[in-house]
Symmetry: C2
Subunit: 228 residues, 2 copies
DNA sequence: TAGCTAACTATACGGCGTACAGGCTACGGT
DNA sequence: ACCGTAGCCTGTACGCCGTATAGTTAGCTA
């Protein structure tokens, strides 16, 4: 009943779902989500594209598994000794950190479909923090949903969302953008021209994320049932 | 020099970029962004797919134009007589309204690329409101970026983002989701089970959007330089 | 030895974006 | 009356994509 190792094909260990997902993550991180194709994965793994269909029902299932694998990286430990705002904040920081590490996930999250186990785990912890803070189940649901959306939005947002771009490409982009700003009619876009520098630079991404999270948390706290 | 009407092909008026975009919007609204393909558009317009390449440099340019066309629908009028919070709020409501009308835009917004004219128009007005409220150019830039991301996130967020789904499909989804929730282990996911109803229903989308915007605005106001 | 099953391979289909080359129509100049 | 030219479109082909279907192989069990 137990299968032993089966290593007959010369240079290759047998395919596993985990190996496929691992290579897929590498591909997505390095070349973007568009590079993750069945055929490409097959080639990378030294296998016929159709071989992947033994391990996954189709590309959708593969992508779902990919999201789940990433979501599992979120640190769900909460310190019950600190105020709920801090508990929620560190939760959000962990989520944002995971999304920043793999920005392509945001595109996958907004495909419909039932939530995966990883999803549910994160959601459970968020709801728990909010419920203990005094929110009703309805309020907690709304806040958690909104917080998750905001996290995705932060990562998808402008500060050069362009991941995996080489520094030179990024500099080129920035240069072309600044060129565009410079030849804008000054009487129509005074505010944009005035803000040309902050608009076209994206230094201090950490500050950007900190600001976004602070703003979210400030909003949540302003609506909290009993602030403490 | 001036070309007059040229209607030689029997049943068809000559193609224009606007006509292509119009059909593309209809397609995206009715069947989702995936239905917008060069070949499909050509078929719909009674024309060879390659004909579209006369009017657009490629599919990317077509999609960019599509976004621009939609963004132009945003109502940029602001009432200078009301507090800046209200000015910004109605601006955001207009933006969210546009995104809700064409949810597929959110997917297009997060593709990199230089901002279009429509983009700049919206950004200019947002920055203006924020600057007059006392934010520095840097702050205003950050807030505007974040607000735009949040608007996109709201629309992309959970409440059944599944657009264009028939009511029956939507009910099926909801039913399967509730089934999943019911057979969850109660000891591992108490908070989720407790919130099963608000999680699986998506009535009152207006309330969802109002909440999201209120939360954003509360956060912004909490960080405003001189609160009023 | 025969048969079963897990894990692949081979082939093929239809759809996608688009490069490239060719053609047709209406107009302006001569 | 002719023709060049510009604008608009067609035809064909290439190389990707996901995947349905069917065939092959290795190792285990009986």
């Amino acid at each position: 009943m137990a299968r032993t190792i089966q290593q007959e094909v010369p240079g290759r260990s047998p395919l596993t779902a985990a190996a496929v997902l691992g290579r897929a993550v590498e591909l997505a991180d390095a070349e973007g989500l568009d590079a993750v194709t069945i055929r490409r994965l097959g080639k990378e793994l030294g296998v016929t594209p159709m071989a992947l269909y033994w391990h996954f029902r189709g590309k959708d299932a593969l992508l779902d598994a990919l999201v789940d694998r990433a979501v599992a990286d979120v640190d769900l430990a909460v310190d019950l000794a600190v105020p709920w705002q801090q508990q929620f904040g560190s939760l959000m920081r962990s989520i944002v950190g995971m999304l920043r590490a793999h920005p392509w996930i945001t595109a996958l999250l907004s495909r419909g479909g039932l939530p995966s186990e990883g999803h549910l785990g994160v959601l459970e912890v968020m709801l728990d923090v909010l419920r203990r803070a005094g929110f009703t189940p309805e309020q907690a649901t709304t806040v958690a949903r909104h917080a998750l959306s905001t996290a995705a939005a932060l990562v998808g947002g402008e500060p050069g969302y362009a991941p995996r771009l080489s520094p030179e490409e990024l500099a080129d982009r920035q240069h072309r953008f600044r060129g565009l700003l410079e030849k804008l009619p000054g009487d129509r876009y005074p505010r944009i021209i005035e803000a040309a520098v902050p608009l076209s630079t994206c230094d201090d991404p950490d500050g950007y994320y900190a600001f976004g999270l602070d703003l979210l948390l400030a909003g949540i706290e302003a609506m909290a049932p009993r602030a403490r």
